[in-house]
């Protein structure tokens, strides 16, 4: 791995510098630090760290986040509720909902809130715990049950898409904050200078039902170089990667040599270190023009690979292809990879939509786990799978045994994590017989609220999820801060608890 300039260190230095410059004096001897700490020097790689640049020893070196944009139905995929089978079309008992907010889409339904048991068959798969129930919609993922840590008790506070997806990705329901990926880029830095440090992919779907926003991989008030870089399946894989028509790689080399000569001239006159830094960035761009096509060229993958990921992986833009790209990126030192798969929003026709959605993602997700495992990379690669909320036990719209829809459900939903220091083959958290409320092991309803200093075991607020992700990557979510408008902002706001029960 490349020894490189490290943002955590950069951050510390920035803070020190800020104090040096912005406040009353701190002591003597600091003056000499000024040169060392100039941003230009940093940008030139002046500050270098050893291998451990983290708050504590990291379990995972990188993260691959498979984001199911919308709300995958925990009730049809992960959270097995056999008792609901006998309650078809019965109203959700009032004591279950106990006055909780319902979206405007189902609040005034004529048929009330009729229970819709899942039409899918669930099977118990061996894991390292009490077994894992998986529905027939995810046959491939079920085969890696022993690697998964499935959390049934994830919860959020937002009930509509835009606020909810913004919340889980940025820690705030309204725009303006850095994304999880930006925080990771800021905290983890870069291992491969020839590839972006934070890569985002959009996987194809048949149900592009909800929108994505640049803010989900954006930097908010942080410098924009921490933003996610789209790896695209259409046009240039990285924006503006390819030379214009009529310009060869050789031409570019000559252009860059001339450009460097011009910029050197500029530097000689103005001595602005930023100019030197830019010369270096032009060179990195040149290398990226080789390393990205090499990354995207799957010809060095064996047939074995495509057996694992499926033939779809050969078609750019499919979820399977994105997963394969993710593995290739991970191999090349990219630490922060996110795949967005849209269409998990089955207000009606859930079976049709979820069958298609699951088919999109099932084999690729499982293949990624297996592939990382056989390459010895799963141990230090954290894989996260999940959406922004779950779906309701009650039906939205017309209800039959075979067809139904489900509204948004923030109070509990299932996600899974694998590898990267997470306990393999366990489940965490429980929900009631309707997959409506989080309960303890005895079935008592828990009503967790995100509270600083108080954690309810068995639950995982999305701040807890993010705190745990950071923790596994060696970062203390309380100490990874960025000052803006006088406040040291955190991804987890003033909340978040590392869920140690799932950490290996």
């Amino acid at each position: 791995m490349m020894d490189s300039f490290h943002p955590l260190r950069e951050h510390d230095l920035m803070m020190t510098r800020r104090q040096l410059f912005g406040r009353a004096a701190l002591g003597l001897g600091t003056a000499a630090m000024a040169n060392v700490l100039s941003p230009s020097m940093l940008a030139q790689g002046g500050a270098r760290l050893g291998a451990e640049g983290t708050h504590h020893k990291a379990k995972a070196k990188r993260v691959i986040y498979l984001f199911m944009s919308g709300g995958p139905s925990h009730l049809d995929l992960w959270d097995y509720k056999p008792k609901m089978q006998d309650m078809f079309n019965e109203q959700l008992p009032d004591h279950v909902r106990s006055g909780q907010r319902v979206t405007g889409m189902t609040a005034n339904q004529k048929n009330g809130l009729p229970l819709a048991p899942s039409k899918y068959k669930f099977t118990l798969h061996d894991n390292n715990d009490r077994g894992l129930w998986v529905s027939e919609l995810l046959p491939h993922t079920a085969t890696v049950a022993k690697e998964l840590c499935v959390v049934h008790s994830t919860y959020t506070e937002a009930i509509n898409h835009d606020p909810a997806i913004t919340f889980i990705q940025t820690g705030s329901q309204v725009p303006g904050r850095p994304s999880l990926g930006a925080w990771l880029s800021y905290g983890l830095g870069k291992m491969n200078e020839n590839l972006p440090s934070y890569v985002v992919m959009h996987a194809r779907t048949n149900f592009a039902e909800q929108s994505l926003f640049a803010r989900l991989w954006g930097t908010g008030f942080m410098p924009s170089d921490h933003q996610g870089i789209l790896l695209r399946s259409e046009g240039d894989p990285v924006l503006y990667l390819n030379n214009p028509a009529g310009v060869s790689g050789k031409d570019r080399r000559k252009q860059l040599d001339a450009l460097a000569a011009l910029n050197q001239q500029h530097y000689q006159q103005f001595s602005d270190p930023e100019v030197l830094s830019r010369i270096r960035q032009h060179e990195m761009a040149y290398k990226m023009q080789t390393s990205v096509p090499e990354l995207m060229d799957l010809s060095d993958e064996s047939e074995d690979t495509f057996e694992l990921y499926g033939e779809e992986a050969k078609q750019p833009g499919t979820f399977a292809a994105c997963c394969l790209n993710a593995r290739r990126l991970a191999e090349r030192g990219v630490r922060n990879i996110q795949i967005f798969h849209r269409g998990w929003d089955a207000h009606g026709n859930l079976p049709k939509e979820h069958e298609s959605q699951c088919k999109d993602i099932d084999q690729g997700s499982a293949a990624l786990i297996k592939d990382l495992k056989r390459r010895g990379m799963l141990d230090d690669t954290l894989v996260v799978w999940g959406g922004e909320f779950g779906r309701t036990a009650y039906c939205q719209g017309g209800l039959t045994r075979q067809n139904y829809g489900r509204d948004h459900h923030p109070r509990c939903f299932s996600i899974w994590m694998a590898g990267g220091g997470v306990k393999p083959g366990i489940t965490y958290g429980r929900t009631d017989d309707y997959g409506y409320n989080i309960t303890d092991a005895d079935g008592n309803t828990l009503d967790p609220q995100p509270t600083p200093g108080k954690f309810t075991p068995g639950t995982m607020h999305i701040h807890d999820l993010n705190a745990t992700i950071l923790h596994l990557l060696g970062i203390d979510h309380k100490r990874l801060t960025y000052r803006y408008q006088g406040r040291d902002f955190r991804l987890t706001d003033v909340h978040g608890h590392v869920v140690h029960d799932i950490v290996a």
Binding site: A208, L212, R232, Y240, N243, D251, A261, Q281
Partner: protein, 941 residues
């Protein structure tokens, strides 16, 4: 060697001077203590350290700060307590030894408190400035020199004249200087030359475009709603108004007032109402299932927090849920401030609608505004001269005027715009009323639709015909062209003209040619006479109808003086108003909406009594005469007593001119923000700004004629000050995304100078919107402009807030979802790819290359021209060598591969205007590409 760090080294460290509480102690308390002992302490018994009164309270025989025996203060003990120290051992933030010593010194000196610097009214030390006048005629230099003197530094030498000319042009207009202007300026050896140069730039309409952009960042201007569907929103007339306001050098207090409360001014003008688009700029949603009350609250949170950032330099967000941890803002005050905004009448949900009312009809773009303002003035003058009695006598009990029937409407298919009147077989029947019809969409630029109908009138009279149609639309009356071809401005989509009809029956044929911007297909017939026959009251007829009645050559007023002018004005005004567009504005409800404090900021937890709108007490009070609405809020902001506003705004201006602010955290003037590098200068400027009548250009002139601004910007070996906190060198930074793009278009001579109008869509990699957009969104398809619109200044690039143009975000433009008063300036490899490979940049390079080859005759001259355009100076020797080497290399390379050469010079839509040898053109394109990307071109220095 002098060290910049030492600027803030406290002399108190050496015990030479007493402690300055606001500058030295308050930041330590705020950073380390207020989190537990600050304004938001929950329990009344808890110790607070944010005021002397609280800190000296008797805690049961002892005091944190002992007023009588300072040396017995508990603070002194706890600071050094091994077992139970403060801050506690496990606190995230620990004090340094130096901080402890400062606190100790402060306590021992008696523990005096003082207001945070920003909350004290700025004072102008004019006597001191006057005393320095001999050495420093420009007061700015006096302050900067004083700071440097402390560090034994002096000003850097003045930069070269050409460098300064370029710097000034970029600072003011966001473009390099025109070479013709530059050479005149270089030849002007008089003392006034530099002042004249600045004045000339201030008069350039590009000035307003460039300055407006910073404001649009601050107030988060966007062309879409910003949330969920992120649909289109019609508010660009606001953007164009900001440009005009800067170009007119509108007094800034007025600029603020119109935006906050133009609608509440007496008898507001169109522009005053339009300016309230500011209030409507918050992102909005209409996502299925959202609750209106929730977004009523969220929209207002956003408004009050943006207001805080832009005008107060205050972070308000903390106080939404609890009393501010650091700054003296209570939660109640937050909601009192919010109450000013809580009574606007728009629906909290936007309905995903372009016309998210209330809206206002206004001219469409800058030329249209200028024309309309001029015509309105003339109309007012003309109508003033009309005697109502005379008119009333002439009109009498007029009957038949204003009657007509239009029947047998027929319409042709869309045909080529060049075709002559189609024969009858091309027409189909069309359902329309006698007043006209509206349906479908008009075709594209090269198409036309023909419509005909029979019109019967009981008298000869002038009717008014309005229809959608672009350039080369035409009207025929009984076969005779009455207006053909119509010449219009590029963005006009409607034609409106007087139709002088005869008594009896006639055939009207309308040729409606397509427009660049798609509009509905519409024909409308109107008459001014109805307004008279209804009321028989001239004064009640309305200016537009009055004018048209005066203008009617067939009407009863035809003999009156001024008819010809009335006709001209009526014709032009009708044309102007037919092309009006809509813009979002603020209006208040008749009855104010009740505002209550929201517990923890939750929309469904209002608590306590209804609140009256009020301002932050730490910044004074609402002026006694001020109404308790947005207008009163504006009066408070612009009052001479306001401690912060002028400072915050002048700091934003300083940042625009010098690249960095006097306060490096322009978004935060609170306790946690950075202190100004030159507090006395900031105060002097703030008061000068107010004294000048909020004259922005006066302040800019002051800054830009200062020796401080005019310094060479080379980093100095004798002054170590990487952040330039001493301002001991001129500004130097990478230019903003917009400036980089505009400069290239300008150098290539393809910049479209047209100002204003709907956002433009230049090249963008395909599928970027589609990959993210909701299927129901009307911004999922990026249909790029294939006309001159694609070459307009970047200010006008369509701003989709959930996915702004990638060349903008690549170079640090904010998303405009939230306020941004300071852009980051990153330096990344992806920027390199954008600079060298993006389609429009390649197109610029080849157009620029064509310009070089055709306008200059030797390689040497061409290079000097190229550098002249981009760096305002000829190329130096090393640059010549680097470029000529590349050039000869590329000539050779393309001579062997003409096909590649032709590919390169064909990138982009623009046809090459030059019939040039492909090899030579391609080789120069390569050279132009790198010079366009070089730091001499993309940096200000």
């Amino acid at each position: 060697m002098v060290c910049g760090v030492a600027v803030t080294m406290s002399s108190a460290m050496l015990n030479a001077e007493p402690i300055d509480f606001s500058r030295q102690i308050l930041p330590i308390l705020s950073e380390n203590c207020f989190v537990c002992h600050g304004p938001d302490t929950r329990n009344e018994k808890d110790l607070r350290l944010d005021s002397r009164e609280a800190a000296t309270r008797d805690l049961g025989g002892y005091h944190a700060l002992d007023p009588d025996h300072p040396e017995q203060s508990e603070i002194l003990t706890r600071l050094r307590d091994k077992d139970d120290p403060m801050p506690p051992k496990d606190a995230e933030k620990q004090l340094t030894e130096a901080q402890k010593q400062l606190l100790e010194q402060w306590v021992k000196e008696g523990g005096a408190y003082d207001l945070h610097w920003a909350f004290k009214k700025p004072v102008k030390n004019q006597a001191w400035v006057d005393a320095q006048k001999v050495d420093y005629p420009n007061p700015i230099d006096a302050f900067i020199a004083a700071g440097m003197r402390e560090k034994e530094a002096d000003f850097a030498p003045e930069a070269d004249k050409s460098v300064l000319a370029r710097r000034a042009a970029l600072t003011l207009t966001g473009l390099p200087p025109e070479l013709s202007d530059l050479s005149l300026h270089m030849a002007d050896a008089t003392e006034e030359a530099s002042g004249k140069w600045i004045d000339q730039l201030l008069k350039d309409p590009k000035y307003g475009e460039h300055q407006a952009r910073y404001w649009l960042d601050a107030i988060r201007y966007g062309d879409t709603h910003g949330l969920h569907l992120d649909n289109r929103r019609g508010i660009y007339p606001f953007r164009d108004w900001v440009v005009r306001a800067f170009n007119d050098n509108m007094a800034f207090d007025q600029f603020i007032t119109w935006q906050l409360a133009g609608d509440l001014l007496p008898d507001p003008t169109l522009e005053q109402q339009l300016a309230t688009g500011f209030v409507r700029m918050n992102p909005t949603t209409s996502e299925g299932g959202v609750i209106p009350a929730e977004f009523q609250a969220k929209n207002n949170f956003d408004r009050v927090e943006t207001f805080g950032t832009v005008f107060l330099g205050m972070t308000m967000v903390c106080a939404r849920c609890h009393t501010h941890k650091y700054d003296p803002i209570t939660q109640k005050e937050y909601y009192e401030l919010l109450a000013f905004f809580n009574s606007t009448s728009e629906n909290p949900l936007d309905g995903n609608a372009y016309l998210y009312g209330p809206t206002l009809n206004v001219p469409e773009n800058q030329p249209a505004w200028h024309e309309w303002l001029e015509l309105s003035t003339r109309q007012d003058a003309l109508l003033k001269g009309v005697d109502a009695d005379t008119v009333t006598n002439s009109l009498g009990s007029l009957e038949k005027f204003g009657d007509w029937e239009a029947e047998e409407w027929k319409r042709s298919k869309s045909v080529s715009v060049d075709a002559v009147v189609p024969d009858d077989s091309a027409f189909e029947e069309l359902k329309a009323e006698h007043k006209g019809y509206k349906k479908d969409r008009l075709g594209f630029v090269n198409e036309a639709v023909w419509v005909k109908f029979r019109l019967r009138s009981p008298v000869a009279q002038t009717l008014w015909l309005t229809f959608s149609g672009g350039t080369d639309s035409a009207v025929f009356l009984d076969g005779n062209p009455i207006a053909s071809p119509t010449r219009q401005l590029p963005d006009q989509r409607f034609v409106s003209l007087p139709l002088v009809v005869n008594q009896g029956e006639q055939e009207v044929i309308v040729k409606m040619s397509g427009t660049e911007v798609q509009v509905a297909q519409e024909v409308r017939i109107e008459t001014p006479w109805k307004s008279w026959s209804g009321k028989k009251d001239w004064a009640a007829c309305g200016a537009a109808d009055q004018l048209r009645m005066l203008a009617d050559s067939k009407g009863p007023l035809a003999g009156m003086k001024g008819r010809m002018e009335a006709f001209e004005l009526a014709r032009r005004l009708a044309m102007a108003e037919a092309n009006f567009t809509t813009t979002l504005v603020a209006k208040d409800l008749k009855e104010p909406r009740e505002t209550r404090l929201l517990n923890r900021g939750e929309y469904d937890q209002p608590t306590g009594d209804p609140l009256t709108p009020n301002v932050l007490s730490v910044m004074g009070t609402l002026p006694a005469s001020a109404p308790k609405n947005r207008l009163g809020l504006a009066q408070w902001l612009t009052s001479r007593d306001h401690p912060v506003v002028a400072r915050v705004l002048i700091n934003q201006l300083w940042q625009r001119v010098f690249g960095v602010g006097l306060v490096r955290t322009p978004e935060d003037f609170g306790l946690q923000g950075q202190q100004p590098t030159h507090p006395e200068l900031l105060d002097w400027l703030a008061v000068e700004f107010q004294d000048s009548g909020w004259d922005l250009q006066h302040m800019i002139r002051l800054m830009m004629t200062s020796r401080t601004y005019r310094q060479d910007s080379s980093w100095r070996p004798d002054v170590s000050d990487p952040e330039n906190r001493l301002f001991a060198r001129g500004p130097s930074y990478r230019l903003d995304a917009e400036v980089i793009r505009d400069t290239g278009l300008w150098a290539a001579d393809i910049l479209d100078p047209h100002m204003g109008g709907e956002g433009v869509k230049p090249y963008q990699p395909s599928g970027m919107w589609m990959a993210m957009a909701h299927p129901a969104s009307n911004t999922k398809l990026y249909e790029r402009d294939r006309s001159h619109r694609a070459y307009r200044r970047s200010l006008y690039v369509y701003w989709k807030r959930t996915s702004p143009h990638p060349m903008m975000t690549l170079f640090d433009a904010p998303s405009r979802e939230v306020s941004c008063v300071r852009r980051s300036r990153t330096n990344t490899s992806l920027q390199s790819l954008g600079l060298l490979n993006e389609t429009q940049r390649t197109e610029m390079a080849r157009m620029l290359a064509g310009r070089l080859i055709t306008e200059r005759f030797s390689d040497q001259e061409r290079l000097d021209y190229l550098f002249g355009l981009l760096a305002s100076r000829p190329a130096n020797q090393a640059e010549h060598k680097a470029c000529l080497d590349l050039l000869s290399n590329m000539r050779e390379r393309y001579a062997n591969d003409e096909e590649s050469a032709r590919s390169l010079i064909s990138v982009g839509d623009l046809p090459s205007e030059y019939d040039l040898p492909a090899v030579e053109h391609a080789a120069w394109t390569q050279v132009a590409t790198i010079v366009l990307a070089s730091d001499s071109a993309i940096m200000l220095y």
